[in-house]
């Protein structure tokens, strides 16, 4: 294909929503020890960066200057300078960090240490561990509420979402959910916590006030056995209208209408879809597809997959750098 025709084609496919934004998506490749950088204008990989061993969770600092990378097998969180792609320093993370979440204060990183049943809280400025919190077996998902009040860690084998009070860094509540909870996400006003259960095949929506489950979502795709429907990563739109849920080996992303909690669409993406990321304008959704080693770009207005982008082996986490923050 003629290279110059690619943006034109994308625009054509995107139709009305096709504002030619040029954000960057960082994608961690778990089995390649690299990060792929996708330019959302061309939807091509524009750079591949070598990082530590088994990179999984990735997230940007609130000022978009630093990229934090969970290098699980290096037992560290690497901090990369977005301007130079150089690793500036490493944070003490505890053993086997898998996922993390950054507090809105831009200072405290909450890290799940999968092998040790511990959550570690690291102060980024002083680069020290300020708390370690005992959690359930195999902590996995991490979320911090937008108001900074709660840090949530899900433990996969204890089947719990633990509610950590971020002022005291102590667990103050636990919510039992279905088997193997993976991802946790707050809605924009922090009234709801969404927790996906990979083996249970469900998503629990928890009232943040009472920590009680108020709704459980189920999924059904004709022709795909129920046991392959394994909810993992989630993204909620900031307007409160839609939720996207990656269904793992079912190779689809479920789209939920949040006004009535009904699934309105299943979007076919690559194989074993893990995590999701919305672009800042929420016009596009990117999915990391672990087994097929690629990323699918989905048009949010049309709820259709538009393009598949080859990345490294076992793409896992995604982080979006807005166009305004891209280094010149």
């Amino acid at each position: 294909m003629n290279m110059s025709s690619v943006p034109a084609l994308v625009l054509l496919l995107l139709g009305g929503s096709g504002v030619a934004v040029a954000d960057w998506i960082y994608v961690s490749n778990e089995k390649d020890d690299t990060i792929s950088v996708i330019d959302t204008k061309s939807n091509e990989v524009v750079n591949t960066i070598d990082v530590g061993e088994r990179p999984r969770g990735v997230t940007l600092s609130k000022d978009n200057k630093l990229l934090f990378i969970c290098a699980s097998d290096s037992d560290t969180v690497q901090v990369m300078d977005v301007a130079t792609n150089k690793i500036l320093f490493e944070l003490p993370s505890g053993e086997d960090p898998e996922q993390f979440a950054l507090h809105p204060n831009n200072k405290h990183l909450y890290i799940a240490n999968e092998d040790d049943a511990i959550a570690t809280v690291v102060d980024i400025e002083s680069r020290t561990v300020i708390a370690q919190i005992d959690v359930g077996v195999e902590p996995e998902g991490m979320a911090v509420s937008h108001n900074g009040k709660w840090a949530i860690v899900t433990s996969e084998t204890s089947n719990m979402a633990h509610w950590i009070d971020t002022e005291r860094n102590e667990i103050v509540a636990n919510t039992l959910v279905d088997q193997r909870p993976r991802d946790a996400e707050f809605n924009a006003d922090d009234t709801e916590l969404w927790v996906s259960s990979e083996i249970g095949g469900t998503v629990s929506i928890v009232d943040a006030e009472t920590q009680l489950i108020k709704k459980v979502l189920n999924f059904e795709i004709p022709g795909i056995s129920a046991s392959r429907i394994q909810p993992v990563g989630m993204e909620l739109t900031s307007d409160g209208k839609l939720a996207f849920i990656a269904l793992g080996p079912a190779n689809h992303v479920a789209v939920v209408d949040r006004s009535n909690y009904e699934v309105i669409e299943y979007i076919l993406v690559g194989r074993r879809v893990w995590h999701l990321a919305l672009t800042p304008d929420e016009s596009r959704l990117y999915t990391s597809n672990g087994v097929s080693g690629d990323v699918t770009m989905v048009d949010v207005a049309k709820l259709k997959p538009v393009k598949t982008i080859k990345v490294g082996r076992f793409p896992w986490g995604l982080a979006v750098l807005p166009e305004s923050a891209i280094p010149q």
Partner: protein, 386 residues
């Protein structure tokens, strides 16, 4: 411990209520067994096989239990070979709540589960794969976390079908269990459209380590077969068959491609985490027997957490209900078959350094649950106790 419990009680809030500490003793019973001598010195059975899996299950339950004010304890009763376990078992039952993880012979399991003292006891069979325990000889107070031979043989024959290995040479060993395994393989072959073209019983009792290259080709001489399958549960001669067969064909069963409940090579579906925890605890790899013990204890933990009861009858009812499911690092939720108490689970097909496939394989369909393409289905079992 007391200080800790108090702290936990304060920490817990509305969502998960904590009352008094619920103590859940789990009785682990084992008869030590001696195995027949085998040829290879690399074939070894760890002495702590089983009990370490149960211990890891208890540790996992307690990590969760500290948020719920539950405390699990493992009580062990291990008797030397030849000693009768019955009297000691009845004595140990008195101090338990009737939750028993059994690593005993089929005969002992049937005897103990029929004792008047054991009628309200819930047994988990974590060792024996005999199909009759899931069929005519089933007991309503016995659940099975170990896979049956039929589940293992069905998994293997699904793979043979998938690979289109349609004509098969079967070799049956002479030790206890080999005939039952061979029977299961024959049944599975029929179920999945595989023809057993050659069916031979292993008779050579000589040490074949140095003569395998001469003996095995002659023993396996036949005009046509796509693959071999061998039933030699003690792995006495099976390791010497590989690469020495008359036709150069793949082999499965007790050598080559093995169907297993678990193996140290399993790493998909988050299994590395379980493997790492087990290695730390036991300083060795996790076997199928270890896994079956872990799954039994985790089943109890899950039932206690969801029912808030440690009563064996309540736990049994919950485990056999549609509400129970257990994440077992195998990519599908584990549950119990309501018709014979067998734990539904994927079977992994492995060689010593990698997973080859996991059954049920894609495309083998079932009207209710694809895991029920493995082992005795509801229409096949003669179990009437459930």
């Amino acid at each position: 411990m007391l200080r800790f419990c108090v702290a936990v009680m304060i920490l817990l809030s509305q969502s998960v209520y904590a009352k008094d500490t619920l103590t859940i003793p789990i009785l682990y019973i084992e008869e030590e067994i001696s195995r027949p001598p085998v040829l290879s010195r690399l074939v070894v059975w760890p002495e702590d096989e089983g009990v370490q899996g149960a211990q890891l299950g208890v540790d996992d339950n307690n990590t969760t239990g500290k948020f719920l004010n539950q405390e699990y304890q493992l009580q062990t009763l291990i008797v030397p070979e030849g000693d009768s376990i019955d009297a000691q078992f009845v004595e140990a039952l008195a101090g338990s709540q009737g939750l028993v993880v059994a690593n005993v012979s089929t005969d002992t399991l049937l005897r103990l589960s029929a004792l008047p003292e054991a009628q309200d006891v819930l047994f988990f069979n974590a060792l024996q794969s005999a199909d009759e325990l899931r069929s005519a000889a089933c007991r309503s107070n016995v659940l099975h976390t170990m896979a049956s031979r039929s589940m293992l043989s069905d998994a293997l024959m699904q793979f043979y079908n998938f690979r289109k290995w349609r004509d098969v040479f079967l070799i049956e060993g002479t030790h206890e269990g080999d005939n039952a395994y061979a029977q299961a393989l024959r049944r599975s072959a029929k179920k999945f459209g595989i023809k057993i073209r050659h069916d031979k019983k292993w008779l050579v009792n000589a040490d074949i380590r140095r003569t395998a290259a001469q003996e095995i080709p002659a023993f396996t001489q036949a005009r046509k077969y796509d693959a071999l399958v061998v039933a030699d549960e003690q792995r006495d001669f099976a390791p010497y068959l590989l690469y020495n067969t008359w036709l150069p064909r793949p082999m499965g069963g007790s050598a080559g491609l093995k169907p297993e409940v678990w193996s140290p090579v399993v790493e998909q579906w988050g299994a590395v985490q379980l493997q790492t925890r087990f290695n730390k605890l036991a300083s060795r790899g996790m076997s199928g027997v270890d896994y079956a013990n872990w799954a039994a204890v985790r089943s109890i933990g899950e039932a206690v957490t969801r029912t808030n009861s440690s009563d064996a009858t309540v736990i049994r009812d919950y485990l056999l209900s549609d509400n129970f499911e257990l994440a077992g690092f195998k990519g599908a939720a584990l549950s119990y078959r309501a018709w014979n108490g067998q734990l539904r689970q994927p079977i992994t097909l492995v060689h010593p350094e990698a997973v080859v496939a996991t059954a049920p394989l894609a495309g083998f369909l079932h009207q209710t649950n694809e895991l029920d393409t493995l082992g005795l289905d509801q229409s096949e079992t003669q179990c009437k106790e459930f």
